[in-house]
């Protein structure tokens, strides 16, 4: 359990503005976990290799849906069907509130689905709640 504080939060997001704002939001809510970022689906999947090589496994993956090269749902599918890493909690963090997207995400095994608010204050709140829940309150699988 103590190790969790050092386990990173893995952010998969293509929009640099979104990345920056998300990082700032976490910073402002005093997040202690380190944050790893992948810019697209392909890069996200390359992290699997890194975890195999011994890099710390993220305590939660925040996944955007619409990304170039490999789509968010693809990443979701791949990780959720992986032998070793299927249990990592994956939170879909996207601007789409379409029911079809929500359905697809859950069908593929997403643990949670959060819609990114436009208003930054709300976004701050969401960020701190995400952190509080997934990195502190929730007990991750071993």
């Amino acid at each position: 359990m103590n190790a969790l504080e050092n386990n990173p939060i893995f952010l998969v997001e293509d929009n640099p503005v979104d990345i920056d704002l998300t990082l700032r939001a976490f910073e402002m809510s005093n997040l202690t976990n380190p944050i790893k970022v992948a810019r697209d689906g392909e890069e996200a999947l390359s992290f699997i290799q890194k975890w195999d090589n011994g890099e710390p496994i993220p305590v939660v993956i925040l996944l955007d849906l619409k990304m170039p090269k490999v789509d968010g749902l693809e990443v979701l599918k791949t990780i959720k069907s992986h032998k070793k890493y299927s249990q990592i909690p994956i939170v879909i963090l996207t601007s789409s509130s379409e029911n079809s997207d929500i359905d697809k995400a859950y069908k593929l095994g997403a643990n949670s689905y959060i819609v990114k608010p436009v208003n930054f204050d709300n976004f701050l709140k969401v960020a701190s709640q995400i952190e509080l829940y997934w990195a502190v309150l929730n007990k991750s699988p071993n």
């Binding site: 601007s95 208003n119 930054f120």
Partner: protein
């Protein structure tokens, strides 16, 4: 009376003495006080006066001296010395008492004061010396010289001392006076108290005396009363009383004595007691009287007295001797009571007793009398006969030991004590005779308790030998039991109308449901049991049978009876006729039993045979082996025209002209071999008159008494056949028609198919368009929102992180940027929602309206509670609409949202939701008392992004009503509104049924 007196005087004496003592001491104190007052009065004031005089003299001497010395006074020194002398005299008086100026003075006794006086005297003396000295040394005694000073000092000293004495004396006097006053007061007070005490005591004493007197008079009254009572008792006592002196002469008799014997008082007193007795009794007295005197008491002495009228009276005397104070004989006191009757009764009793004893003795009945220890005291002749024992060998022996078997003795012991004290009771037990025979005896037992001596009490038992009777009874009971267990009910009827029941066995309960007791006690008429239709027949049968004088019994044809719960039962009845000695019928006796089951069975058999016979179908029974008909019903016989006789010689093959034996056998083979249990086939039968008919045969096998029978049910199907042929023709025609229609249908189907294909294509196009729309809207939302997030985020960060570097204007700019972002976000969301409406498919279902409204209001509860918004819902809880659930919710949500928004500025905001149903539509009205609008804008408000207000007045994107209208259209509904500016609006929703 003496004892209280003593206390009385003692108490009084004490009190009296104490009062005297008190009085004496009081008087004494008074005398003392008087005396001391005298002394005080006498003594002290003069003493004080004397001191005053001394003072005066000395002061005067001083004055005169000064005056003499200064020449103012023309006196000699002797005048001055006179004063001194006077002072000395007075001083002496004080010290030693004496007479001065004809007044008696008493000396001062107080040592302290005396001392002071003497000191003063010394001072006076020195003063006198000084005076002389001054006078002698005149020149040197002028004022201011040394001796003058000394003289002044001494004079001052004198004044001091004399004042001291004076004051002391005054004080003393005061003290004495005070003491006197106190004492005086105390004494007065005591005197008063004493006076009061005396008064109180006086009263108490008087009261005491009075109480005592009262008690005395009371006691006296009681004594008088008692005397009176006793006298009355004496006078009115019912028992005759007499008192004799030592020689036997009557001193006194009471009225009862006089009345009983008839003499007067005068005639009796003084006469000798024996004068009133018979000779024999008088003799008796002579012996018994001395005895009486000696012992002092006599009881139950019987004498015969002679009454005045000459008749005799047997009396019983009780008497006592009374002595005087010295202990010697004073007089006798005797009472007597008339025992004549008693005596007679006793004698009669003795006679009766002897008589009854004789009866017992000689009776043939078995009579024994046992005492408390069950020893035999009475044993009569009857007992001797039955038991074989003789009286003299058995009297005094223990009954239990002789007559009871060892086994029952403990039992008998147990009930033995209970038998005593009971009223006459009966019981049975077995006894053994002398010869060892066992007999059953029924006893009637009573107790005889007349004797006082408990040991003389007896239990008398009269016994009856019921040994035989018992056996007979047993046999009877057994017979009864057997009958009652059987279904056969035995009756005994009187030969009267209705045949009242005199006896019936208990099992009548099972037959009729009525208790045997009810029958006998209420003299039930038997006819009331019989079923009404059968009464006539049964009565006739009895009457017929009774006519024959030689007939002893007869059997009824089965008839019906009705039970308690109205069930009908068939019974079989054999009746016996009972005649008296003259041959008249007195009673009928009979047995009845229930044959309902048998009757039912026979009826059923009858029914079946009728069914067989009267069936409209032809039924044949024929033997499985010979195939010969055994039984043919009437229908068959009629149809064929053969008789039974003829048919008995025929087989089914004879009826079937076209059938050969082998073929028939083949047909029935499966039946015979049990492969099947029924065969149905069609054939042609030939009648006797050679006409034929189509027959359908249903053939079965019946096993009966180890034989096999065939049962054939045959129906004449001629008509049916005709009808079938007709039907076939019809069918062929119809089939032709059908074929033609089929072709036509196929053509239509082809058309449909091609149309469907077209539709499918269109749908496909639609779907792809929708998909395009979907991706478009999706992209729009996603791609448009992302930069919006950036704008909002960074503007917020700017505001927060660089606040200090931004002036107010700059901050305002940034806030405008942010609000613009928010607006744009809302617009995008609304657009998305609007497009979703278009793409979604609507599904119609039955929806209850009220729950939807409640949910929406719950959702909006925050907004509602911000103002005191009143909402009335006129919608029944089971009002149902057929519509798309999501669409309806969206519509209502938007309308209510608007209603709340546009009424929140009002003081009493009020929203009304009403639902109405008519034959063609469902209608929902949402009414508010909000800002309202001008009806010329009615159509515009339902257009997308059209608003009637500024953002500052009411917020919103203008998409709400557009969405509502789209949704209503998609649900085959309509929406319109009515409003007046500032008077609120009402929006109408209509959905077609």
């Amino acid at each position: 009376m003496t004892l209280p007196n003593k206390i009385y005087t003692k108490k009084f004496t004490l009190v009296f003495i104490s009062i005297i003592i008190l009085s004496i001491s009081l008087i004494g104190s008074m005398i003392y006080v008087g005396y001391s007052s005298r002394s005080i009065a006498k003594k002290q004031p003069p003493q004080i006066r004397v001191i005053g005089l001394i003072k005066t003299e000395i002061i005067t001497s001083h004055l005169w001296l000064e005056e003499v010395l200064s020449g103012d006074r023309n006196e000699s020194i002797e005048a001055v010395n006179e004063h001194f002398e006077k002072a000395n005299t007075y001083t002496k008086t004080l010290l030693y008492g004496g007479i001065v100026d004809k007044a008696q003075f008493i000396q001062v006794t107080n040592t302290d004061i005396r001392k002071k006086i003497q000191e003063t005297k010394k001072v006076i003396d020195s003063l006198f010396q000084l005076t002389e000295e001054r006078y002698l040394k005149l020149e040197h005694a002028k004022a201011g010289t040394e001796i003058d000073q000394i003289y002044d000092d001494v004079f001052r000293l004198f004044l001091k001392k004399v004042t001291i004495v004076e004051n002391t004396l005054i004080k003393h006097q005061q003290k004495n006076l005070n003491n006197f006053i106190y004492t005086q007061r105390i004494l007065t007070f005591s005197a008063i108290l004493l006076g009061l005490l005396i008064i109180i005591l006086f009263y108490w004493f008087e009261n005491y005396k009075f109480q005592k007197e009262k008690k005395l008079t009371q006691l006296n009254n009681i004594i008088i009363e008692n005397e009176e009572r006793y006298r009355l008792l004496y006078q009115n006592a019912p028992l005759p009383y007499q008192s004799l002196n030592i020689d036997g002469y009557l001193i006194d008799v009471n009225p009862a004595w006089v009345n009983t014997l008839g003499y007067s008082h005068k005639e009796t007193v003084g006469k000798h007691f024996t004068e009133f007795m018979t000779k024999e009794s008088a003799e008796l007295v002579k012996t018994r009287f001395p005895e009486f005197l000696a012992t002092g008491a006599i009881y139950n002495a019987e004498f015969e007295m002679i009454k005045k009228d000459g008749t005799n009276l047997i009396v019983s005397y009780d008497g006592k001797v009374s002595n005087d104070e010295k202990g010697s004989f004073k007089q006798t006191h005797c009472v007597f009571s008339d025992v004549t009757e008693q005596k007679k009764a006793k004698e009669e009793l003795i006679i009766a007793k002897e008589f009854s004893e004789k009866i017992i003795e000689t009776s043939n009945a078995f009579i024994v009398g046992l005492d408390r220890n069950h020893l035999i005291q009475i044993f009569n002749e009857g007992a001797e006969t039955i038991t074989g024992y003789k009286k003299n060998e058995i009297l005094g022996k223990d009954w239990f030991e002789i007559f009871f078997s060892k086994e029952i003795i403990p039992e008998m012991n147990a009930v033995w004590d209970n038998a005593w004290g009971k009223e006459a009771h009966s019981y049975e037990n077995y006894i053994f005779t002398k010869t060892g025979e066992k007999k059953l005896i029924s006893w009637q037992t009573t107790g005889m308790y007349e004797e006082i001596d408990i040991n003389k009490h007896l239990l008398i038992s009269i016994g009856e030998d019921i040994t035989d009777r018992n056996a007979k009874q047993e046999a009877l009971n057994t017979a009864n039991k057997i009958i009652n267990r059987s279904p056969v009910v035995a009756f005994r009827w009187k030969n009267e109308d209705g045949w009242p029941i005199e006896f019936v066995t208990n099992n009548v309960m099972n037959l009729t449901g009525i208790n045997s007791e009810e029958f006998i006690n209420n003299a039930f008429d038997y006819t009331s049991l019989i079923y009404k239709d059968d009464i006539k027949r049964v009565t006739e049968e009895v009457a017929d049978a009774s006519k024959d004088i030689n007939l002893n019994s007869f059997t009824h044809k089965p008839y019906r009876i009705i039970t308690e719960n109205n069930k009908v039962k068939w019974v079989f009845d054999i009746t016996f006729i009972i005649r008296d000695t003259e041959g008249e019928i007195t009673h009928y006796e009979g047995i009845i039993y229930d044959i309902t089951k048998e009757k039912m069975a026979s009826e059923q058999t009858e029914l079946f045979s009728r069914i067989f016979e009267e069936s409209l179908n032809e039924i044949y029974l024929f033997d499985a082996e010979t195939l010969l008909f055994t039984q043919v019903n009437s229908a068959a016989q009629r149809n064929l025209g053969y008789t039974m006789k003829e048919l008995k010689k025929m087989t089914p093959i004879h009826l079937k002209p076209l059938l050969k034996t082998e073929s028939f056998k083949k047909i029935i083979e499966p039946l015979e071999k049990n492969k099947t249990n029924k065969i149905i086939f069609e054939t042609i039968h030939q009648r006797k008159d050679k006409s034929t008919y189509n027959a359908e045969v249903h053939l079965q096998v019946l096993k009966y008494n180890e034989k096999s029978l065939f049962v054939a049910l045959i129906s004449d199907i001629t008509e049916r056949k005709k009808y079938e042929n007709h039907l076939e023709e019809l069918v062929t025609d119809r089939t032709k028609d059908l074929e033609n229609s089929e072709d036509a249908l196929l053509n239509i189907v082809d058309d449909l198919n091609s149309k469907t294909k077209e539709l499918k294509n269109i749908n496909k196009k639609l779907a792809s368009v929708n998909a395009e729309m979907e991706t478009f809207t999706y992209s729009v939302s996603h791609d448009l929102k992302a930069p919006l997030r950036g704008i909002d985020g960074y503007s917020k960060l700017l505001l927060d992180l660089y606040k200090n570097d931004l002036n107010e204007e700059a901050q305002e700019f940034l806030m405008n940027v942010r609000s613009g972002t928010q607006q744009m976000n809302e617009l995008i969301d609304d657009l998305l929602a609007y497009s979703r409406l278009e793409r979604q498919d609507f599904q119609f279902s039955k929806i209850k309206l009220k729950p939807i409204i409640d949910d929406i209001l719950q959702l909006l509860s925050n907004e509602i509670n911000k103002t005191n918004l009143k909402i009335s819902i006129n919608c029944t809880s089971d009002f149902t609409i057929v519509a798309d659930s999501k669409g309806l919710k969206l519509v209502l949500r938007n309308l209510l949202d608007n209603a709340i928004k546009f009424t929140n500025h009002k003081d009493n905001p009020h929203i009304e939701i009403t639902s109405v149903e008519n034959s063609t539509h469902w209608l929902i009205f949402v009414k508010d008392n909000g800002v309202g609008f001008d009806m010329k804008y009615h159509d515009r408000i339902f257009k997308i992004f059209q608003r009637l207000h500024l953002p500052e007045e009411f917020e919103g994107t203008g998409i709400g009503l557009a969405m509502v209208e789209k949704a209503m259209h998609r649900m085959n509904g309509k929406i319109w509104a009515e409003s007046k500016p500032n008077e609120g609006s009402c929006f109408y929703l209509e959905i077609k049924k």
